[in-house]
Amino acid sequence: MKITFYLNGTAKEIDTEPGRNVQELLQSMGIRSVRKIEQASGFSGGDIILLDGKAVNAGLLIAAQLEGHKVRTVESLSEGGKLSPVQSALVDMGVVQSAYNAPSAALLLTELLERVENPSRQEIIDALSCIYIRDSGYQQYFKAVAIAKERMRDPDFRTEIAEEFREDLREVGKVRPKIDGAQLVRGQPAYVEDRVLPGSCVLKMLRSPHAHAYIKRIDTTDAEKLPGIALIITYLNCPNVYYTVAGQGYPEPSPHDRRMFGRKLRHVGDRVAAVVAESETIACDAVGKIRVEYEELPALFSIEEAEAPGAAVVHKGQISYLSGKPYYEKVVDIQPDKRDGEIIYPFNIGADPYKNLASSVKNGIGNIEKGFSEADVVVEREYRTSQVNCTPCEPHTCYTRMEGDRLVVHASTQVPWHVRRNVATVLGIDENKVRVVKERVGGGYGSKQDILLEEVCAFATWKTGKPVFYQFTREEEFTACSSRHPMNITVKLGAKRDGTLTAIEMNVKANTGPYGNHCLTVPMNACSKSLPLLMCDNIQFDVRVFYSNIYPTGAYQGYGAPQGSFALQTALAELACELGVPHWEVMEKNRVRKGSVLEILKCLGEGTEGAVVEVASCGLDEAIRLGMEAFHMDRKEESGDPDIKIGKGMVIVQQGSGLPGLDQSNARVTLLSDGSLMVHTGGADIGTGLDTVCAKLAAEVLGIDLDKVTVVSGDTDHTPFDKGAYASSGTYFSGNAVKKAAEDLKTKMLTIAADLLQESVETLQLEYPQKIAGQTGSVSFYDIAHHAESGVGPGQVVGFASYATHDTAIPYGAHFCQVAVSRKTGEIKVQRYHAYMDCGTPINPEMAEGQVYGGVLKSIGHTLWEEMKMNETGHCLNSDLKTYGVPMAGDLPDDFHVKFICTDDPYGPFGGKSVSEVSTNGATCAISIAIHDAVGVWLREWPFTAEKILRNLGRVNE
């Protein structure tokens, strides 16, 4: 069918199927900005276009509907490469982060401002109602609209974007546009899918329909007969290598308990076969022709089922240890089953897999019995958390191709170096044959710390020589992707009448699901990121983690801390209730402060020995003071509606900044011939602005403008090793490496300058911009580079540094909230939420704000709505974003506020600590406490649904 329409003002005539999806059609016409977050839902955005000036979802249109109409995409907004007022406002406000749907947001707000001169808050929410933004939440969009509105009148309009910090510094702590912001908001090629060459093969996966089963027989004959099939991979022809999908550093704490394909299937959606074909259609047809005979096994879904005596065994394979021995007395009469494969432990993690125990650890300080015996009041409560999905906008995506005899992996990953190691290991090739290019990442939040598709894609290319593209469907994001561990946490607290804690006991039982990636470290983090908030001489924790047949778990922003904080902090509030003392007074009496010595951390190392830590910086004093002032915690609020009750809650939170003693980052800063700089860092910017952090740090050290610094990152061929983006390590590890490398370059430049000026280094100083001054004169960076690269010079000037440390920088925060609870409907409305955060020096203040808003909103999501629901056979019932319950613009608190308490941490780069993960740890406990304050019931299982409220209030019966 011939269709004529106008695309960004130009007439187009195309010959296409009338039913062709417009999102795909536009992509095929080179419009990369119109993306697919999920299939044709009209819910999540990403595919927004303007059709005759009205915002619509391209994914809901078919080609025939375009006939005679005018289509506008984001590509029309930036004339001559200049950003439009809306685009520049979004970049300046720091909301263009992972940015997969930033072009859609720009279009929606452009349409809004063309339609409404002075849009209200409600009109902005309405415009954003059709777009899903996970990274920065939605709060900063209101101000972005106001700025855009002004810039439509005055293109040079400037205003305060966010609070700035550190007057003594030029770049660090200052608002600067994210260095890749313009590229992303324009919708220019940036993501893995943008690298796919015409003619590439497509990979589709046949996944298990059973939660627990063996493959008895698999027949791919009919599928292989289809024309266009390049390869079908099953357990019969895949590499016989066991590994973990967790992208973690050495020593790897996760067991190597999975093979690319196995005979044993451990969850609905587990891999059965991969089809690589010339087109998506052929691949899907072939998947439908693979015949599989299964032997179903009893499936386990809960911790109780998994730990019950006589339960089915999820991993009954051969067990071996690379080092160390199991600590337990192994008393089992179960023989390994070859069909289960193997489990290889890099070291002892307290596992007993034949009892479904994936890992365990028990330790503590002081004397717990003595502590409880000294208590006047003891409370013991159990808290439960459900499985939560990361739901990045950009699905997991990989594209692999050969370049000569080398394999190139374009990945949307948080851990390029671990991807390279994993791919090389599984394929049995050397790492020099593999290049991993981390493209821009459209959201990860932990799930892209796991290597969930890269090794299959890589194997397919290695075997066939063909380029292969694989992108998860949204359903696969739910059924085959890592998620937050469900946990049952029992907390027992002992305290004196005045609220002084005498004993803390924390027993964590976690459900790791089918595989053990992160099975030791996430549940441990429930303790290590919550217990050090409270100072107590007697602490004991017991962590036990079980295999089951739920969907896979792994890393998710907060990494166990949201669950641990919920349990421990709510228990503290319940203790205060028992004592008849305001919660904040008990908190104040026991909380951590600057200079506190955290003895408990010596028991909580992640794969290595822990260490006692003295808190070097802590902004909680000011954070709590500000929150108490803003919320008047001792004042009861009334709604004016007898059915609506108001309550308030507050908590303190912490996280870490990378893993001291485990992580390492490396960086190189090169002086270019004209005196500008090139930074090569292995750090993986996953949308958080790490590249901008690195550029700022180099610019700050070397007295150069930010636009004269270019950052190349996350490419295993061209940048030095980095552990990756996880454990809140980016600013602290990757940033410190860049800062050290810049300092190394500075030292070398001073030496050359001393030679040129015929002075000693001691008399020289670096001056902004780009020069070194001595007593007799000065030389520019250009002079230094020119000399260094000449025939008599010492060679190109390059600074290099490796950063590893045992120093710990802990970010803190105090979160305050106010909720309105309807006794009539059970509905909970978060009216106010303030996050007072100490992340040291906020290096990118506006982006840091966005990450806090986004982190808080994610945690409001899992507190109130988000939950992966399964039926009795282990099938996910809500594997799309709408029914799963992600927060949207209309779910924002009416009063949502982030405030940074700037502390100058002695170990962080220019005092910077981590910011993103810590933000997710407060909402559940703050809201739980506020609900109790409002209606007098304690909710001890997230999500806090309206039905749970009504049941607790006795309005709805069991």
């Binding site: 009338p18 078919i62 439908g288 005979e293 019966n957």
Partner: protein
């Protein structure tokens, strides 16, 4: 022991449309449909047809775009809305009933409102739709094919697959109360309810109460209606009890049967009280 042959989901529902017609007149459209039969589907905004949740496989689309059905107007004692009027146009209209606008704004995002048409949203596809609930309470009529007119309540049971030309809302019943129950913004709907009460001298002489609470469609609460009409006191607790006794929601991921009954009962009761207080939109 058994074989399982896996059939993947359709890659794109949109692949099913192989032919697309844009008739210029109503008669041409009707003749086309008669000639093509079940293979052809009326095509408004396409938001249902273009989604994977559309179950019926048809491969010919007959567009309403050029049929002149994009109007909203008052005619004597009724409000007439052309079949291809988008929901956003209804929302922007000064003529459309307030309750209809409220239901639309509660239940759909702006981009979907910009695409979806009123005729396309009358038949809920695999999910709860607030629009028919509201229109049924308002006693709306459907004008279709050559000009036949049926009450919407009757039309949706006819299975005529006709060309809907116009939705007619009697002014006397355009005032209704609506509730759209969700747990969060843009979340899946637990229930949509709408009530219209006709009063005479302070007495309720006629009641129309409708609920959609699962994918099976819209239910009329006839017992509740008769009790509302017959009971001069209309105590909210009594109405709640009546509704809880009449509705039969199913348990799903949104909640248990007991919870849903409680929520629906509250929503219907609120609608009734709003109507009684003379504040329906």
């Amino acid at each position: 022991m058994h074989f399982m042959v896996h059939t993947p989901k359709p890659l794109r529902s949109t692949l099913m449309i192989k032919e697309f017609y844009r008739p210029a007149t109503l008669q041409e459209a009707i003749d086309l449909k008669r000639g093509l039969g079940d293979r052809a589907v009326w095509f408004g905004g396409g938001t249902c047809i273009n989604t994977l949740t559309f179950e019926k496989i048809r491969d010919i689309a007959i567009s309403l775009e050029n049929l002149g059905l994009d109007y909203i107007r008052e005619e004597d004692d009724r409000i007439c809305i052309g079949a291809s009027v988008t929901l956003q146009k209804i929302l922007d209209s000064t003529v459309a009933p307030g309750a209809l606008k409220r239901m639309i704004s509660l239940s759909m995002t702006r981009t979907v409102r910009n695409m979806a048409t009123i005729a396309g949203k009358i038949f809920p596809v695999m999910q709860i739709s607030g629009l028919p609930v509201c229109l049924l309470a308002m006693n709306a009529q459907v004008k279709y094919n050559e000009g036949e007119i049926s009450p919407l309540e009757e039309y949706i049971t006819l299975d005529v697959d006709g060309l809907i030309r116009e939705i007619r809302i009697p002014k006397e019943s355009a005032g209704a109360a609506v509730r759209y129950c969700v747990q969060k913004s843009n979340g899946p709907c637990i229930a949509a309810t709408s009530v219209h009460l006709k009063t005479d001298g302070g007495s309720v002489v006629d009641a129309r109460a409708f609920v959609a609470c699962d994918s099976s469609g819209v239910v009329r609460l006839r017992e509740t209606e008769s009790l509302i009409t017959g009971d001069p006191k209309k105590h909210p607790d009594a109405i709640r009890e009546w509704v809880m006794g009449e509705v039969t929601p199913s348990a799903d991921i949104l909640g248990s049967i007991e919870y849903k009954k409680f929520i629906i009962a509250n929503a219907v009761t609120d609608c009734v009280m709003e109507c009684l207080q003379g504040e329906p939109q």
